[in-house]
């Protein structure tokens, strides 16, 4: 087990080096020099020269890369040209919002996806089965932002049940020590705020969770169909175990293996989808932040944000791989 973890951690090294190289050269491929990009509209020849000397942009590329790695390792991504704040500080505010949204979306897709797929497999070929296949097909075919707009139209604009924008009521003046609003509200036992925050999460989470929901439903269905025909399930039935026990202890437990891998793989999709969902709901997370950065040509934010999200993605996949190896001993030796 330890060997597997070490090997997996070592594999991380080339990926991180490659990622840093990619982002480093990406910034240099952007229109305008890095100095221009970072300085933005304030750029003048004198400023550019000062900036280039200060950040060593007149030095050879490999020296520059090394310096870039050194600052990046310290999670110093520079200053946003739009807000003049440290990118790292903005990430501290924005990232918790996206994490809350992504977790809520994942929770939604797991809570509905696994039962949906399970019962579809149990009634293989029946009406419920076809219905679940149809729903999951629509789920992967509908663009996240269109579903978000639809949900907003029906539940916020038409019915007025839920708020349509933001993360919290605009008049709220509650302090947020951790920036995880749900956690903050629970710590301070502020139940009114908790309710408000959760209400703001519902629609974005459903929109963002639609694709994982569709995929989890499909995989669960396929996995349950597979496992159902295994010898050990037949044996369990033959020895007279109650059907529910067979389902719980033999079918579902083994079907969970492929499902858990898929759940991990969805992280990337969630991050991509967050950019679109957050834009529709004006949700102040990483996604809407990056979108603004594109419009403001705020390259410090883009560079830092993309690198940060990619890092998160790589780390989440690492955790998923390792936990998968813990659940499924067979994988360690292959």
């Amino acid at each position: 087990m330890l060997r597997f973890v070490v090997r997996r951690l070592l594999l991380l090294v080339p990926i991180l080096v490659g990622l840093s190289l990619l982002v480093f050269f990406w910034v240099r491929a952007l229109p305008g020099s890095p100095a221009d990009s970072i300085l933005g509209e304030r750029s003048t020849p004198a400023l550019v020269q000062e900036y280039e000397e200060r950040f060593g942009l007149d030095e050879p590329v490999y020296v520059q890369y090394w310096k870039y790695v050194q600052t990046t390792v310290k999670l110093d991504f520079g200053v946003s040209s739009a807000t003049h704040r440290y990118v790292t500080d903005e990430i501290k505010e924005r990232f918790p919002a996206t994490v809350e949204l992504a977790l809520a979306a994942m929770l939604f897709s797991i809570l509905f996806g696994i039962p949906l797929g399970f019962f579809a497999a149990k009634r293989h070929g029946g009406l419920f089965d076809h219905g679940s296949l149809f729903v999951s097909l629509i789920g992967v075919s509908i663009p996240v932002f269109f579903l978000a707009i639809l949900l907003k139209y029906v539940f916020a604009v038409r019915l007025g049940w839920l708020p349509s924008v933001g993360r919290i009521d605009v008049t709220s003046e509650v302090e947020h020590p951790t920036n995880f609003y749900v956690v903050d509200a629970i710590i301070t036992r502020d139940w009114a705020t908790l309710k408000d925050v959760l209400r703001h999460l519902v629609l974005p989470a459903i929109a963002l969770g639609s694709i994982p929901l569709a995929i989890i439903t499909r995989i669960t269905r396929a996995a349950v169909l597979d496992v159902q025909n295994e010898d050990y399930v037949r044996t369990a039935r033959a020895k007279g175990l109650p059907p529910q026990t067979v389902d719980r202890r033999h079918v579902l437990r083994n079907a969970l293996l492929p499902i858990s891998t898929i759940i991990g793989l969805q992280t990337g999709l969630l991050l991509s989808g967050a950019i679109l969902t957050e834009t529709v709901f004006a949700f102040p997370g990483m996604g809407s932040w990056l979108r603004e950065a594109i419009f403001n040509r705020d390259y410090a934010v883009l560079q830092g944000g993309i690198l940060f999200l990619a890092l998160v993605f790589v780390l989440v996949n690492l955790v998923v791989d390792i936990s998968y190896a813990i659940i499924n001993p067979r994988i360690r030796y292959s």
Binding site: P14, P143, F145, I275, V280, I306, L309, A310
Partner: protein, 302 residues
């Protein structure tokens, strides 16, 4: 032609045509795939014959139409109503199919061909070449697809060609991985050993023997990638970073950008372009699923 070569050719011709013919019959008996074909056909016809189908000029603004508030809904003259600038929505949807199809096909072709070459080399050559290529693919996969596309568009600037490259490059690692995997599985197969034994050169073995046998999962992936490409293009358009001038080139995703504030008064402005995206994407997904089942009968009903 030696006897060995003659037989090699024969075997190669017989086996795939049988597989493909069977797959074809299975495909046309699949109702889902048929519906998919119809959706895609509508989409392709709209794209190709856009100038004939469109009832108005898609970029002509008619501000008189929206003088009494935004926006008049569907009518006899404007089947899908008019948009915020008084342009005919039906014509814009029809022309939008053109942009989506063009970008979809070209970007999948880019992703497919680069991924094919990289995956084939990695899988067949192996060793250090394999490691270098696949680590590079891992790095690309480490960046979520849309984010990667945004980064590429940011570097290249907005425009039709740039979006194609961005969406295409984001597809490369997926195809490369798929192909490498299936070539690795084929490399030790008996027919490869036989081809090597009769002295066929390595590139020929790769392109004439291994690739045709590894291609079916790639074709399925290609169809599904079309669906993803259409969604990605619409996503970029929606974020307003795809095309240089969304007013000049009607694009489905960008049609949804500004209508956010008009949901109360003119919901059809969002519903119609959105439905167009869903139908075309659904079409490719249905065909992709149908192909997967047709090419791998073990998956039936899964």
């Amino acid at each position: 032609m030696s006897v060995a070569e003659l037989e090699a050719v024969e075997v190669q011709r017989e086996a795939p045509s049988g597989l493909w013919r069977d797959a074809f019959y299975r495909l046309i008996r699949n109702p889902g795939a048929i519906v998919g074909f119809i959706f895609v056909l509508v989409f392709v016809i709209a794209a190709i014959f856009a100038p004939l189908i469109a009832t108005h000029d898609p970029v002509e603004q008619n501000l008189l139409l929206i003088a009494n508030g935004c926006c008049p809904g569907p009518s006899a003259d404007h089947w899908f109503g008019v948009d915020l600038l008084g342009r005919d929505l039906f014509s814009r949807i029809v022309y939008g199919a053109r942009v989506s199809l063009l970008i979809g096909v070209v970007s999948v072709a880019i992703g497919f061909s680069i991924g094919l070459v990289l995956g084939a080399i990695a899988g067949y050559v192996g060793g250090i070449v394999d490691s270098v290529i696949m680590r590079l693919m891992d790095v690309m996969l480490a960046i979520p697809g849309l984010l990667l596309a945004i980064g590429i568009v940011a570097a290249l600037g907005p425009g039709l060609k740039e979006v194609m490259i961005a969406v295409g490059l984001a597809n490369v690692p997926i195809f490369a991985r798929l192909l490498r995997g299936s070539i690795l599985a084929q490399r030790e197969a008996d027919f490869v050993l036989a081809a090597r034994a009769v002295g066929i050169r390595r590139p020929t073995i790769l392109f004439a023997h291994i690739l045709p046998n590894s291609i079916s999962p790639v074709i399925v992936q290609g169809t599904l990638a079309m669906a993803t490409a259409i969604i990605d293009v619409a996503g970029l358009g929606f974020l307003g970073i795809g095309l240089q001038d969304p007013d000049e080139t009607p694009e489905w995703g960008s049609m949804l950008t500004e209508v956010n504030e008009y949901l109360q008064t003119a919901p059809f402005l969002a519903l119609i372009p959105g439905t167009a995206i869903v139908i075309s994407v659904l079409g490719f997904n249905l065909i992709g699923d149908g192909l997967r089942e047709a090419l791998d009968p073990k998956l039936r009903g899964r």
